[in-house]
Amino acid sequence: MNFPILSIITFLPMVAAVIMLMIPANRKTEVRGVALATATVDLLLSGWVYLQYLLGHLTGYQFVEQYDWLPALGISLKFGVDGMSAPLVLLTGIVMFTGVLISWGEYDEAHHLSAGIQDRPREFFAFLFLLAGGVFGVFVSLDLFMLFFFYEIAVFPMYLLIAIWGWVKTREYAAMKLTLYLFIGSVVSLVGALVMYWTQYQNTGILSFDMIQMESAGFSASFQYIWFLPVFIGFAVLGGMWPFHNWSPDGHVAAPTAVSMFHAGVLMKLGAFAALRVGVMLLPEGAKQWSWLIMAFAGIAVVYGAYIAFVQTDMKYMIGFSSVSHMGLVVLGVSTLNHNGLVGAGVQMFSHGVMTALFFAITGMIYDRSHTRQIPELGGIAKVMPFATIGFIIGGLVSMGMPGFSGFVAEFPIFMGVWGRQWMLAVVASISIIITAAYIMMNIRKVFFSPMPEEIQKHHIGDITMLDKIAIATLCFFMIIIGMFPSVMVPMVERGVENILRLLGGA
């Protein structure tokens, strides 16, 4: 047995959560210290896994660990990463690290500035880390039961985080809406998964939740036609799939900054990833049968989300709907079931995760200082927060798919893949590129470069803190490095895609 690095990555945040709860509540600095240390270690470990995969192995599942848990039912704790999941593990590490940085929450006496989390940081970080552990668990699980187990762990703390620390006006509505959507979605998928489990037992006599085992369970075509849609869509709800997307922007808006970052950055990836891993990979015939429907939904989402984002006046709603649009591109890429589309989807998951995390981080910084997120009420931020401005512009360029940034490396293959399947849809979906450019540019023009309104001037906005800058720089680093040198990520995603294509019958 190798060094159990994936288990450590997964359980370390949970252990840290327990440790933090044991620290007295008034020792806020210690709590934050533990949080940052844990996040840093997790980031380094996930980065190490990523680099090992990229430079060393670059094939199949790596770092596989397996421990029996309930052998009678064929449930075991089985971890491993492939080319699809390794970038997402790294993404989670990045979002966790930057999320802690921007939630640090020192109270600045001189400027009466309260940024980040002031209220009960101990409980906040504990729940956040519980969530993070769940997310890591989903990405590395090779056991279907464990995947569901971690999935629920990842979803549940969201309710508390939003309902307790969220935006007062909508937090209860949004938290409930989000929880209901996600639990209903996962229950639907769970039913599908249990049916798959029993059918495998009937077909092969093996009682096992091992997903690699299930790939060869011999599900009949008609079985796959029936069960693909519930399983795929059940998960894709968490990926913000149209028309089940509405929990997502509401949730973004109500959530505190770090939770928005997690929510858009990694939670939505969770849905898309699980839909791919369980829906497409275990039920490939069903995927082929229904890909037109998924493609249609995704195509609508891409344009639809962009249109709505275009008219939002709340920055968080704008970013929330832009996430619907961008996650639509992920699902669109998946639904092509061809090499280019899937590779683009894989890269887009990472790229979008980093990009929205950045957007929400900066929006949070602006809100903490100006006490508004309304685009028409904002202005002149560029003068007081130049670093954040540059960060937002870089994020904007990624968002609109500018070459040289990660967004292009992701979107270009998706469009090529879609063109290969259905050129009309590529044309329709490309409308979103124009609208995205429009709302991003108009937002930048108004919020950052127009004259600062008097209301805002009263708050004597100061610059962001050093920790904020580190967070922004970290996120920008990944978007640029992938844009400039796609070979740091694309070959890896391709290994994962090859595996998927093999299951789809070498298509």
């Binding site: 509405n246 008219v311 500018m402 040289g404 270009f412 490309s430 450019a437």
Partner: protein
Amino acid sequence: MATELLIWLIPLPPVLAFFLIVLFTNKNKALSHSVAISAAFLSWLGSMVVFVRALGVEHLGEHPFESAINWLPTGDTWLKVGVLIDPLSAAVLFFVAWTVLMIFIYSVGYHNYGQPAGDHDHAGLPPHGATVHGHAVPSVEPMYSRFFAFIGLFAFGMYTLVVSDNLLTLFVGWEIMGLCSYLLIGFWFGKPSARNAAVKAFMTTRIGDVFMLLGISFLYYATGTLSYREIFNEETLHVLATVPSGVFGLSAAGLIAILLFIGTIGKSAQFPLHVWLPDAMEGPTPVSAMIHAATMVSAGVYAVIRMFPLLSAGYEGHGLTAAMSVVAFIGAFTAIFAATIAVAQNDIKRVLAYSTISQLGFMIAALGIGAYVAAVFHLITHAFFKALLFLGSGSVIHGMEHGVLHTGNHSVDPQDMFNMGGLRKKMPITFWTFLIGGFALSGFPLVTAGFWSKDEILADAWGHGHMAVFITLAVAAFLTAFYTMRQITLTFLGEARTKEAEHAHETPFTMTVPLMILSVFAIGYGWVGIPEHFPLLGGLVPNWFHEFVGGTLAEHPEAVEFSIIPLATSLFVALGGLFFGWLAYRNVKSVAQDKLQIPLLKNKYYFDEAYDYLFIKPAIWFSEVFVSKWMDKGFIDGILHIFGPATGGLGTFIRDKFDVPVVNRFFGDGSADATYWIGKNLRPIQTGRIQQYLILSLIILVVIGGLLFALLVRSA
């Protein structure tokens, strides 16, 4: 140094300058412009070395300098990126290097380097001037360093685009320039008009870019490569030309070419995406020169010239392909359409803006009718004389601003030509260089570069029998000469019409020297492309340009036969236009006397308003009302909000109609009540008397015994 390596290095200095300025020298103006100009100089030097070496290669078209590396992995192969210098890119590199360097140097003077900081200047607004010893003097641009950083990035985009050997890096450079145009048009972001113009420019070109991206996707899907050399071989082109695309009956090549051409329509401001270019005048003048001559619009034309083999796939020398017809139509229409608008503009820069659109139309039309070499030739001569004209107009504005500062009357618009007049005496160098540029634009015969390139386009149109294009372009050429002379007359000739014009002042040498250098090219560059059969002059100088650039194509294009009619036409339209322009405006004293102030033309055929009603307002309505309000909030959330109360309603129903009466009352309370009732009614018999119990037992025994007896005996 190996030529290939040198080509790789050409784009790098400006981008290094960008980072150096942003990160380190931001505070120091002298250091910032030194870094930027040194970078432009290094790129210029590299370009010249490469150009000279390219001249020394025989059959450069078949054996270009090229080198490529792997960039984006795609399945089994890699999407390669690389550099390529063939005759076309060498020729383009030459003019880009010269104009970029001149614009960089010019910017030093334009932004008032060496002047004091302004009294009330703010970052994001044009400098308003400073007071020194009670005199108003120009003040230095507050964001001086930032300007040089941005144009460095801009130059990087253009160099990348020119040296790249594939559509992907071309697109990268293309988009970088789109971004830079946004940043630079909106450079004075304190002005609302500049902010709007920046967004408009970005968005309009972006529409074109999306189609271009689709074209690239389709091309990659169809051929599996994006490298020019691999696409433009005979086999691939033949396949593309014969495979139907399934769209409007076009061949694959035709559809790809048209999609890519839409990108050019956006970038080179052709009808119907021309609306952004005149507004782009909101940027500082060196930016206008950068966009209009050296880089962005030229990049659009360059891209479509690059794609010519695709455009003309299936073309046999007669009968234009569908894609070529589209291109020719758009080009010719734009040429005349923009020229008519230009005659009614009063802003010195706006006249030039529309003339750019019109001249680009000439090039596009030339390409559409297969006049490949003529299009390249006009692209290059136009870049030189239009850079000259823009920088000249900037010099005029600068001189006028000097006058405005002198009189202190800030209500006078220093860009309105009707506020000028008689500037030839005040600004002699600017006058003479502007005159050269203007004459080149008009196609003044024999001397200027513009004559030779425009004449070649007309000769090609005539020679290949494209009469409609020929007549359209001839009329456009006449209008060009007319509005150019109108501009020169109003600006420089006659007497000063305002006090400000009287106090205008010649600009510093950093501005005038680039003007002089560019005027050398505005005249001299035409002589490298004199047709061989031209009367008297033909053959004196070999038609080097045709030989050289024509070598880019696999099939060397033949020079068109000489004919007197197109020559006579170009002589007539150039001289006639100039003469009438002078005649009509020599005595005009005020705008009221101008007979061409037609509202339809002044308002640019109301395109901005029409687009607002046709596209922008419906798009906003669609997003705001249809998608957001009806679909998302109304329908999807509506269903959710029906489910919410419905679930609640169902719950209430179950509670009230079933749970409370049936489960609760009947089973729950009912069983309790029944138990209680039974207990209560049984209580009287619990007397505690043994006798009664015995009697009761006896009665029960008798009853049960009777029952048992009856049942058992009966059944037995």
